[in-house]
């Protein structure tokens, strides 16, 4: 089936089987392997992307359902010159990752959280990040990173980052 996806602002036309998940279409058809797959049945959160600005599990959505929609993935967080998004900086500085398998989903979930709630407290961050599983960090570094990025984003002019 022929569909159109606008991923990180770029329009793509592709031909997919109906059972192709959005996660597989991003990774296999568009080569955007930043979106990771863990469980492939909606539990781990690694594949979280934004669909028209709302967080979704890309493994629980067929690409045909996203036809005509806008998708934001982890590849769209850094600026084109390679400057990291404040969340990416903060995950690095605060040791919010080790193996990195969960990190793209963590970043997109956090990006949505800070877009709708710019200064969440630690309890809110924990609750909102609970749908993303990490087997390395024990989560403390992740909560630190989101809290720290929230502070930076509140202080720094935001034209460079969405």
């Amino acid at each position: 089936m022929r569909i159109t996806l606008t991923v990180n602002g770029d329009r793509h036309r592709l031909d997919v089987e109906p059972r192709r998940t959005l996660a597989d279409a991003l990774r296999e058809d568009l080569g955007l392997t930043g979106t990771h797959l863990g469980c492939e049945h909606g539990v781990c959160g690694a594949c979280t992307v934004l669909l028209d600005g709302e967080p979704v599990r890309a493994c629980l959505l067929f690409a045909v359902q996203a036809d005509g929609c806008g998708v934001d993935t982890v590849e769209g967080l850094a600026t084109p010159d390679g400057t990291l998004h404040p969340l990416q900086e903060a995950f690095s500085v605060c040791h919010g990752l080790q193996c990195g398998a969960c990190t793209p989903g963590m970043l997109m979930t956090a990006a949505h959280l800070l877009a709708v709630e710019p200064s969440p407290d630690r309890e809110r961050i924990r609750a909102e990040m609970a749908g993303n599983l990490c087997r390395c960090t024990g989560y403390v570094g992740i909560v630190d990173a989101v809290a720290s990025a929230a502070g930076v984003m509140a202080w720094r002019p935001r034209e460079d980052h969405d």
Partner: protein
């Protein structure tokens, strides 16, 4: 795992969806997909046709008329959690899964899936609600007490589709649940709704269908404990990996106390 192959039909209207459902031997409605797609990915089901109802216009409305919330079947949990027209439905929807689940999952889908531990079936029953169902022979209205037949089983026939949901807006309400982890299905949940002097308290997670206790709203000292105790005696839970029957009964009592705290007003205690 990857999902098994299926044919995909993007419905343009309710009639189109019902016709597509009726035309295929083993068809399924694809709404939010937050329960169906895991089932496909685990290959527990192999429907031949998925009828995607997400783009049918006009099924995402929210409107209160004569004390009843009329909601479209495609209202997402996130939208239900944000609205102020029906605070009990909002509180229950906010307890579902995580943000990424709530942005896709739908009210109609949750009711049609009829998971015994899910929040919205309990709310539908607590509010003595109903679903509006479209099928090949026209539309019909199914009350909450008749809709849920057993675990994951409803009164709906294969080519039927929930198009709307009616939820009475209670005069007072409460909701409480206990889950092993944040965002998990609840081990036990309690939804309480008072309409005038009628009290409906529903427990999820203790039977195949949401368990209802209907009583006249009591008042006076000890009324809260009386109803919570009656409810704990009334349920007949079974044991599984997530908790023993005794644990579920204890949870029923405690969560009922919490859910009823704003519903039953006891006279203020005399200072001692």
């Amino acid at each position: 795992m990857k999902c098994p192959p299926f044919e995909y039909h993007r419905a343009t209207s309710v009639d189109d969806a019902v016709a597509a459902l009726a035309a295929a031997e083993d068809s399924k409605i694809l709404a939010g997909g937050q329960s169906l797609v895991p089932v496909l990915a685990l290959r527990l089901a192999r429907p031949t046709v998925l009828v995607d109802v997400n783009r049918i216009p006009g099924l995402d409305g929210l409107d209160v008329r004569d004390g009843v919330l009329h909601a479209g079947a495609l209202v997402r949990h996130a939208a239900l959690a944000r609205q102020a027209l029906h605070p009990l439905a909002a509180a229950a929807a906010a307890s579902i899964g995580h943000a990424a689940i709530r942005s896709r999952g739908t009210l109609g889908g949750s009711l049609a899936h009829a998971d015994p531990a899910a929040e919205l079936p309990a709310v539908l029953r607590a509010c003595d609600g109903a679903v509006v169902v479209a099928g090949p022979d026209g539309t019909r209205r199914v009350g909450a007490d008749a809709l849920f037949v057993g675990a994951l089983q409803t009164d709906l026939a294969e080519p039927e589709m929930i198009t709307g949901v009616e939820l009475g807006v209670p005069d007072a309400w409460g909701f409480a649940e206990f889950a092993r982890r944040h965002g998990d299905f609840a081990v036990v949940s309690v939804a309480a709704a008072r309409f005038g002097d009628r009290l409906r308290v529903v427990v999820g997670g203790v039977a195949g269908v949401p368990h209802l206790l209907e009583t006249s709203a009591p008042s006076g000292t000890g009324a809260l404990d009386e109803v919570a105790g009656a409810l704990a005696d009334d349920v007949d839970p079974s044991s599984d990996l997530h908790g023993s029957a005794g644990h579920r009964r204890a949870l029923t009592r405690e969560l009922a106390r919490r859910a009823l705290a704003d519903v039953i007003t006891e006279p203020a205690r005399e200072p001692t």
